[in-house]
Amino acid sequence: MKYLKLVSTFLLTIVVFFVLDTKLGSIPPIGKFLSPNQGVWQNEQDETISGTIQIDGLKNEVTIHYDEHLIPHIFAQNDEDLYRAQGYITAKHRLWQLEFQTFAAAGRLSEIVGEKALEYDREARRRGMGFGADNAIEKMKEDPKTLAYLEAYKEGINSYINQLTVANYPVEYKLLDYKPEPWTVKKTALLLMYMTKMLAGRDHDLEYTNTLRKFGKDRFDLLFPDFFDVNDPIIPKDTDWGFIDSEITETPQSEIPLDSIAATIEKPNPHNGSNNWAVSGDKSYSGHPILANDPHLGLNLPSIWFVMQLSTPQHNSFGATLPGALGIISGFNTHIAWGETNATRDVVDWYKIEFKDTSKKQYKYDGTWKNTSVRVEEIKIRNQKPYIDSVYYTHHGPVTYDETFKGNGQKEGYAMRWVGHIGGNNQRTFLELNEGKNYHDYLNAIKHYTAPAQNFVFASTDGDIALWIQGQFPNKWKGQGKFLMDGSNPDNDWQSFIPQEFNAHIKNPERGFVSSANQHPVDASYPFYVFNDGYETYRNRIINDFFRSKEKITIQDFKDLQNNNFNLKASELLPTIFENMDTSSLNSDEQEVYQQIKSWNFYSDINQLAPSIWETWWNKLFDITWDEFDVENVALDKPFTYQTIFMLKNHPNDAFMDIQSTPDKETANDLFLITFKETAKELKQWESEHGDYKWSDYKATFVGHILQALPAFSRFDIPIGGDYNTVNAAAKNHGPSWRMIVEMTSPPTALGIYPGGQSGNPGSKYYDNMIDQWAAGEYINLLFIQDQNNTEGIMATQTLTPKQ
């Protein structure tokens, strides 16, 4: 009996231990998690930002001043120490995010969250993320300086990780029950691939192939023109391209394989984009150029950006950094300022591959059989056996689609050709921008830059302003890469690249400003083929019209413009609707809603009702217009917003306006009325449940934690106006992720703000403290410290010293 008791109490103890020490489903290991000496209670604090810490490998002492926003101002005596400190400080405030993003980039999320991430991981591997990162490392190794800084940054992060105990792991590690691993140079390369995927990983080739097959060439060209009927390009229309003397690739005879493709890999958010602009000294109220940048990305916590000052006796820079990459990405130094918007160029093409047999060892090319290579991807899965995915590579790139992954047959596949795979030293651009002193340095810095292609805006204290559309761009024949191509025909290969000096650019234009907002980079007079792959059509026109209309520009103008909620899209369609829609059948509720939107001034401000009506109405109208595109098992992308409105206004009786599920023949006017009635009904319903459908309440903008917006760590119902087509591009969970304004005084004077906070710890008051100011359109003064002994505005100082 006593043995039975002994054994049973022993087992009970073991079971209790096991249950409290193990992650069960999504429940964290609750004993470990709640233990005050080891669990989340230990994260209930702000980071220590004073005192002295010994760091391995430092050459000299490094001083870190923190201002009231927890922005670190790093003062090092040499560049290696600077980037070592950048790594250390980034890890200190953002470790979990830093690492998690590279797991996502590499397709390793299954290691952390288990089998549910397997599809995501496979897609990342089959997209060649690791392949591209490997190629980037090879390029970076060619430059010993870049490599030395990458190593220093890596060791800085690892110095931080090595001194951690379980008790001070960031809270997400405790929640998911895993621990940080050492940082590597490859992780920086992976992070840069992640950005490339996010910004230059979009294409519609396979969807367009389906569209072409289904609707024919005439209909395709009508819906997806190379240029919309309005175009206010980044590089103005009157530019003389006479200096371009390289040959434009000739269009070969080739057939488009009209395959039927059921499903395609995930695309980045179509609203990823940005604004940037600069005005010249002549146009500026103070005589100094002024520059602004606001990248529009998913609104997440911890924020994608981490703001820092990076200083050595040789150079001094300030701005937004990306955790995982070195230097300042969008910012300024003593002499110059820079910022980016996405160039949105089509740098992904797809080739149909015919394998000789099911072994996939050879594929057809130029009349013979060419060997493939294979990259065996081992995907580790938490609590399970690893998944082995063999990805076959052709000279085009990885065969992403085959019969094991969204493909059609055992002897065929689709291979991806992507600039992201080529490899480039894109890190070097930012290292050199940090040190740049003038236009010449800026130009040299961006020359190395391959992907993701960006519109780099520039201003200097010398008085120059400029904008280059920089990236590595294939010199395509007209129409190349719009659709799936036959991968066995050498004519279909990318024949060459556009020489860097022929990338579209502009310097000190007479109009006194440069700007970009993801619109078409050029008009049709640019000699190289640039396909319209979803260029933005609204923000850019508001921005350019504003600068054209005003002689002198002030800082307040910049603020107002970044926060401008004018809804050009709505203003271009609604008058047509009001003119043509038959309102005689509206009931009293509908009449009320109709009057609300009819009296709208087209500003999507937070207290207005009309933007909610517009948003709901537009979405319904868009969907019903393109009901022909809702086909099961065929991947199709609907036409872009601009062309949709073009069709509604100019082709109201087109066959596309017909609703296929009804026997009647509808026209655009019918669609307006049908969708309006549905809208009124939906809004009245919403009103009865939630009260007034004021735009801020109805839109309910939120900033979500990176882990699927865990409600506990996210911020909801943020009162901000605008939508994804206004200059203030604040959509529901997407928008201006960093707003910056820099006036090129000596030294520059700058403002900035972002929807988050400097700390990655949900237990810190600096986790989300800037969100309210951001929503209100306010900015913080960026404290650009010139002398490290000047402690004005400093909250605390930490010293890093070499380890003795």
């Binding site: 022993f10 009970l12 710890n761």
Partner: protein, 118 residues
């Protein structure tokens, strides 16, 4: 000093010391060891270490949270989900630590009986 009080204090002290070196389950070790050497009877076997560790964890948790205005605890209380109630989170924290300690103490008692009677 009576044995109950002695056990109570020893459990807390030992847990405090062991938690400097071992993970969360140091409270189970503390209760187990104390129970081996300071035998209690019946319900007290479980409840004395239970209350000891309950207090240790709850007070320590409260102290950590209080020093930071419970910024994180409020969020964890939403996550778990405890309706955002921090006091409930502290209570759960104490209960879990106490329960684990109590169970380990029962096992400790059984082990001590084995030694004594043989």
């Amino acid at each position: 000093m009576n044995r109950t009080l002695l056990n109570f204090i020893a459990t807390i002290l030992l847990a405090l010391i062991l938690s400097q070196f071992f993970p969360w389950w140091s409270v189970m070790i503390a209760a187990f060891v104390t129970s081996l050497f300071l035998n209690l009877d019946r319900m007290a076997v479980f409840f004395v270490p239970f209350v000891a560790i309950f207090l240790f964890w709850a007070v320590y948790a409260f102290w950590l949270g209080n020093s930071n205005d419970f910024v994180l605890s409020k969020k964890i209380a939403v996550l778990l989900p405890l309706g955002g109630n921090v006091l409930l989170l502290i209570l759960v924290t104490g209960l879990i630590g106490g329960f684990a300690a109590g169970v380990a103490a029962i096992f400790g008692k059984q082990c001590s009986l084995l030694v004594k009677r043989s």
